[in-house]
């Protein structure tokens, strides 16, 4: 529901990550990692991003979203598994003492910037 704010923050982080010598460059792609337990809906995020990225170096950029599974570790028996349903007890020993190793990410991994003048195909 707060995808608009997330999109703005992505643009903010991505824009400040463009190296100083490439300031006029266009960002082609933003690689994101979004956990299944985060409250972000990828399609809503893309929709908001397309709107708020207009007139920024990210206009038209693709959001490449890697959705990370919810992976848990049992603190009692050290079992590790991927949680598909909202059941947070250990599959092996039924313990409730779990550590969530992944699934809550909302990270920008990298940005990809068009190489200036390096392209023989040229332009769009």
């Amino acid at each position: 529901m707060h995808e608009m704010g997330i999109a703005l923050e992505i643009i903010n982080i991505a824009t400040t990550s463009i190296p100083p010598d490439m300031r006029s460059a266009r960002v082609e792609r933003v690689n994101l990692k979004i956990g299944k337990l985060s409250a972000v809906v990828p399609d809503s995020l893309r929709f908001c991003f397309d709107i708020v990225s207009k007139d920024t170096p990210l206009a038209g950029a693709e959001l490449a979203i890697e959705e990370t599974p919810v992976v848990a570790r049992c603190k009692d028996c050290d079992a590790r598994w991927s949680i598909a349903e909202p059941v947070f007890t250990c599959k092996a020993c039924n313990s409730g003492a779990l550590e969530i190793l992944s699934g809550r990410e909302l990270d920008i991994v990298s940005i990809e910037i068009a190489e200036e003048g390096g392209s023989e195909t040229g332009g769009e």
Partner: protein
Amino acid sequence: MKPVENKKPTREIKVVRRVLAVNERMAEQNRRRFAEKGVFVINVMSSPGSGKTTTLQKTLGRLMPEVRAAVIVGDVSTTHDADRLAVTGAPVVQVNTDAFGGDCHLAAHVIEKAADDIDLDAIELLIVENVGNLVCPAEFDIGEDARVVVLSVTEGEDKPVKYPTMFRTCDAAILNKIDLLPHLDYDKDQAIAYIRQVNPAMPIFEISARTGAGMDAWIEWLKAKVSSKLNARR
């Protein structure tokens, strides 16, 4: 997506930043500020209509004046909740979230600003009544010490499994409106089983804010938390 061979030549620049890092930093700043003052902060969340405000009204009535408390209330656009809570005599700061560009949750910078209007030396407990929503508030650390989720027996039993992040990240659950159980088909045991499934160790307080039933255990839990925070400072 386009096939790889048509990809334009690009230069990849590693970023590796958490999108919510700004909020997380601000939350840590809030947490330090509250710890210095020995103020225990609870973040109270629920869906709309679970009885959050009534529960807090009754909670304040039981705590004060022994425990000095203040409240920050997030509401999309009215002051109704703040007006109801102000009756208890606790200082209340109303935050209308639409002024901050988001109406689905309270973010750490909103709490930082709202706390400026509260005399932190004069309180031991700060209650944050978050926006009624079981999704977004779970994602935003505000610098709280504990998270409490309120659900009521007039909602679906399966709320905990529909909103696992919320129930997973909370430290206690309040099951409200138990006085209505005789009139409903609500399967309370199933609801509790669902909470346990998501968060096996979390204390669950079955209460009726309206009649006061079950309030004692909740008040004791909260008082114990408040005093341990105060003692940690001394």
